[in-house]
């Protein structure tokens, strides 16, 4: 079972913080891979919050193709981090040519675009690059989005972190999500590594989603190009979250009403029963069947944690004003925020959504039986 750790902090942190947490929880992952998402960046990226950042892995020829392509559509490099790799890669980690983190300047013609069409274009470029990369196996693209960096690699999290020298000072973020992978799928495809990302929404999960096929078939038939890939049964959690906001215009409080709707009397007694019944019926194909602990991040920089209905996966949220951690195991949290009031730690149960807002002042709990805030 994979191990998950996420943190949100007023002061930017090094990604190695999350690697340490994963290292403490190492019994639960087999060192077969690590995925990391950084957002609300510090360091040099602080100055360019709007510039889309491309993260991925490229071969020499892939980089050339990337440059030609990006130039062709009018994107100019604004800033980049070059990762100097030691001579030998750790055992099990493939030798790569380039780990790319590069911020771009928007093309001039993009000026005046609505936010929605700008976001669609960014996503389409990422999908196009992914497709090009899959064709020639020379690029793997994780994200292309402002204020977001994503890295995934095969190997033990701590070792990979050191190998990529993630402790450098240019790499600092206020929000970090990281997953240590337990390989259940044999051949490791980096696209199957968490966290997943689409247009500012990101989630990571442990456990297996047995409703994957109906979930996937439904998402794929929504006619939205971003709902693709599906190398992992957990990718649907990210897409459902995106669908919730993007198409249904509902908020995080409704997420659980889609993936694990209330049943029987609990639903009938809910003050918003009419709305919830609509969601339960019309989003029936998006109901998940865990066990899963889902940790996610929203475009407005909220972090959250939810459980599936069976609640068979652990998960804990804790911290202090200014810094909160989300961890699949308490020991991960203990390693990173030892000086918190542990009595305030919260382990979401099957009805709860634990949320830490961008102000990082408290953990707010939204119970599924609570009234919903009015639709946005």
């Amino acid at each position: 079972m994979c191990r998950l750790f996420a943190i949100t902090s007023d002061t930017p942190l090094s990604p190695m913080t999350a690697m340490e947490a994963l290292d403490v929880m190492r019994e639960g992952h087999d060192g077969s891979g690590v995925g990391i998402l950084l957002r609300d960046l510090g360091g040099p990226f602080e100055e360019m919050k709007d510039a889309p950042i491309l993260s991925g892995i490229f071969s020499e020829s892939g980089i050339k193709r990337l440059d030609t392509f990006m130039m062709g559509i009018g994107f100019m490099t604004k800033y980049k981090i070059s990762i100097k790799l030691p001579k030998t890669a750790p055992r099990g980690t493939p030798r790569r040519d380039v780990y790319l983190i590069r911020a771009y300047e928007y093309p001039e013609e993009w000026e005046g675009l609505t936010q929605a069409s700008l976001q669609d274009r960014l996503m389409n470029i990422r999908l196009k690059l992914r497709e090009m990369g899959e064709e020639k196996e020379d690029m793997i693209v994780f994200s292309f989005w402002p204020d977001v960096i994503m890295l995934k690699e095969i190997g033990d999290p701590m070792t990979v972190g050191r190998y990529l020298s993630l402790d450098r000072k240019e790499l600092q973020a206020r929000i970090i999500m990281a997953q240590g992978r337990q390989n259940t799928n044999y051949a490791i495809n980096l696209y199957a590594c968490h966290p997943f990302f689409i247009q500012g929404y990101s989630t990571m999960t442990n456990g297996e989603n047995t409703a994957f096929i109906p979930n996937k078939e439904y998402l794929m038939s929504r006619g939205f190009p971003g709902y693709s890939g599906f190398q992992s049964d957990s990718e649907v959690f990210t897409h459902i979250l995106h669908y919730l906001y993007n198409s249904l215009e509902l908020g995080i409080e409704a997420y659980k009403h889609v993936i694990t709707p209330l049943q029987g009397d609990a639903l009938e007694k809910h003050p918003d029963a009419a709305l919830l019944r609509v969601l339960k019926h019309s989003c029936r194909r998006l109901i998940i069947d865990g066990p899963n602990c889902v940790i996610g991040c929203l475009p407005d920089k909220k972090l959250f944690m939810v459980q599936d209905r069976k609640k068979l996966r652990p998960g804990v949220v804790g911290g202090r004003p200014g810094m909160y951690g989300f961890s699949s195991e308490i020991c991960g949290l203990d390693a990173v925020i030892p000086d918190r009031d542990k009595s305030k730690d919260f382990q979401p149960m099957h009805l709860d959504t634990a949320i830490v807002g961008p102000d990082r002042q408290e953990v707010s709990i939204c119970c599924q039986t609570d009234p919903l805030p009015l639709p946005r």
């Binding site: 096929i213 109906p214 439904y218 249904l248 709305l275 019309s282 029936r284 066990p291 069976k310």
Partner: protein, 544 residues
């Protein structure tokens, strides 16, 4: 056979029949119960001659002969009285002296039961033992990658939706402006399919209805039952139990006078309206209630004169084109109940099902589609229609489901599958396989007749005389002397037993698959089959 009896082409010997009655002279006490009970008069008391030879033991004595007469049971060989293998004689025999036995070779009878140029008609089933549903296995078992669930203790939500479900975007928008949304019922995924009052005896019907009411009211299982084409007894129409009933309208419109007149007096809306365009047992053929069964009561409920055969036309008389007439019919039915009741068509499985489905998806009032595969049963049909017409349900439902997926409407138009579900006794496994292939629910008919009322039909041409009203179990008879054999209370009790055990078995399937939060509709990754072509066709895994 008497020496002077003429031999005609249709003169058969017992060996030529499908069923042979083995009678044991030593055990028989000549009580006459078997001949009395035999629904087709296949056996009669017989007088037999016996000759005892008394050879001489020494040369001085003369050998002798004794002729004796004894009484026993004689099997008739006239095709009109051929034994149907029902086994009622064995059931009533106090001494186990009689037993029907099936001919190992193909009988000759089948070539001679068309006297007067009338091809064989019968009730029952297709009489083909195997089917693809029984071969499907559930292969995706959660164990260590994820814990399997405890079927006995975990909570399971095994409900399905009947009704047109809108897309979430559309429905949320409607909610805001308080607009009309199509009615949707949350029901149990196994329903009792359409078997008419008329095809079934009053006691059988009452038993099923009582069982369904008990399941709903005492056990909280929202089980639904369809009336079939034959109307509905007036008292039920005016009772609160109507909400558990799906009223069927078919091409003969039997009973609809009564139904329409009862609308103003209805305390509850019916669960749904099923418009029958076809059925799996006899695709392209209308319903049939033979004259034997049209007594006064049936005639009154259906609004016809008694004692005449009631063949419904193969198609609805108003049908001009699918676009127009199906839409009109759905609208008229919806309108009759103020758009509060889901209305859906039922068709026989066919290679044209996809065309029907595409039409349904474009009709916003269509509440779903029920498809009845070739293994569906019936009260009466031509043998040829039953045996050779129709499409297997598995691939038909799969094609339709995948077509809905391609359109993005897999949640909007629920599919219901029927026809041979549980025909070899594997009700839960067959139902679960169909659900994972894409059905939102399944309909059963023959299974509940066997399990709840002791129907004798099997997949071997046993009994199958449902059409002539002589049902030896009183299930499909309108003769009070026969149907009083069936106590409605007992039937109700068995219906409840069947549902409770089905529910447990269904949980025993979904729990190891790790599914409990919702019914695993379309969870095709759980399915495997050891037949490569079938696997490809159904788009499930090939496992050997």
């Amino acid at each position: 056979m008497l020496p002077n009896r003429p031999i005609t082409p249709s003169t058969l010997s017992i060996k030529d029949l499908l069923w042979q009655v083995l009678w044991n002279k030593d055990k028989c006490t000549l009580c006459g119960q078997c001949t009395a009970v035999c629904p087709v008069n296949a056996i009669e008391p017989g007088v037999f001659q016996k000759r005892l030879i008394e050879p001489a033991l020494n040369i001085t004595e003369k050998p002798g002969n004794v002729y004796k007469v004894y009484y026993g049971i004689r099997q008739k060989t006239d095709p009109a009285y051929a034994c149907i293998g029902c086994g009622m004689c064995s059931l009533v025999c106090p001494n186990d002296a009689i037993l029907p036995s099936k001919n190992e070779e193909n009988d000759k009878l089948r070539l001679h039961i068309d006297r007067g140029g009338q091809p064989r008609k019968r009730g029952g089933r297709r009489n083909v033992k195997d089917g693809i549903l029984d071969q499907i296995k559930f292969i995706r078992i959660s164990m260590l990658t994820d814990p399997a669930l405890d079927a006995g203790r975990h909570e399971f939500e095994l409900r399905t939706l009947l009704g047109r479900v809108l897309s979430p975007e559309k429905h949320l928008a409607l909610l805001k402006e308080n607009g009309w949304a199509p009615p949707v019922r949350e029901i149990y995924p196994l329903m009792i399919g359409g078997m008419s009052f008329g095809a079934l005896s009053p006691n059988m019907w009452e038993g099923l209805q009582m069982g369904v009411a008990y399941l709903n009211e005492e056990l909280g299982m929202p089980v639904r039952i369809c009336t079939g084409e034959g109307g509905c007894p007036p008292r039920l129409l005016r009772s609160r139990f109507l909400k558990y009933v799906i009223l069927q309208i078919a091409s003969g419109y039997f009973g609809w006078d009564e139904i329409i007149h009862a609308i103003p007096h209805m305390k509850e809306d019916p669960c749904a309206i099923e418009i029958k365009y076809g059925q799996g047992a006899k695709p392209g053929d209308g319903g049939l209630l033979m004259w034997y069964k049209v007594n006064k009561l049936i005639a009154a409920i259906r609004g016809v004169p008694p004692g005449i055969s009631l063949p419904s036309p193969p198609t609805h008389q108003t049908q001009y084109s699918i676009e127009e007439s199906v839409a009109k019919m759905i609208l008229s039915m919806s309108m009759a109940w103020g758009f509060r009741v889901p209305v859906y068509p039922k068709i026989s499985g066919s290679s044209t099902s996809l065309a029907v489905l595409n039409n349904i998806t474009r009709n916003p009032y269509a509440a779903g589609l029920a498809i009845d595969g070739e293994d569906g049963g019936t009260g009466a049909a031509f043998n040829i229609s039953m045996n050779h017409m129709g499409h297997p349900i598995a691939s038909n439902i799969r094609d339709c489901y995948l077509n809905l997926v391609a359109l993005g409407k897999q949640n909007e138009v629920p599919l219901f599958a029927g026809g041979g579900v549980g025909k070899n006794g594997n009700l839960a496994a067959n139902a679960a396989a169909l659900i994972m292939l894409g059905a939102s629910g399944v309909q059963m008919g023959k299974y509940i007749m066997q399990a709840a009322a002791g129907c004798l039909g099997s997949e071997s041409d046993r009994c199958n005389i449902c059409n002539i009203g002589n049902c030896p179990k009183g299930i499909t008879s309108q003769d009070p002397r026969l149907y009083r054999r069936l106590d409605p209370e007992d039937v109700a009790q068995r219906v409840v037993d069947v549902y409770l055990s089905f529910d447990t078995e269904l949980k025993k399937i979904v729990a190891p698959l790790g599914r409990s939060t919702s019914l695993p509709i379309g969870m095709s990754d759980a399915l495997g089959i050891a037949d490569h072509h079938a696997a490809e066709r159904l788009r499930i895994q090939y496992v050997v």
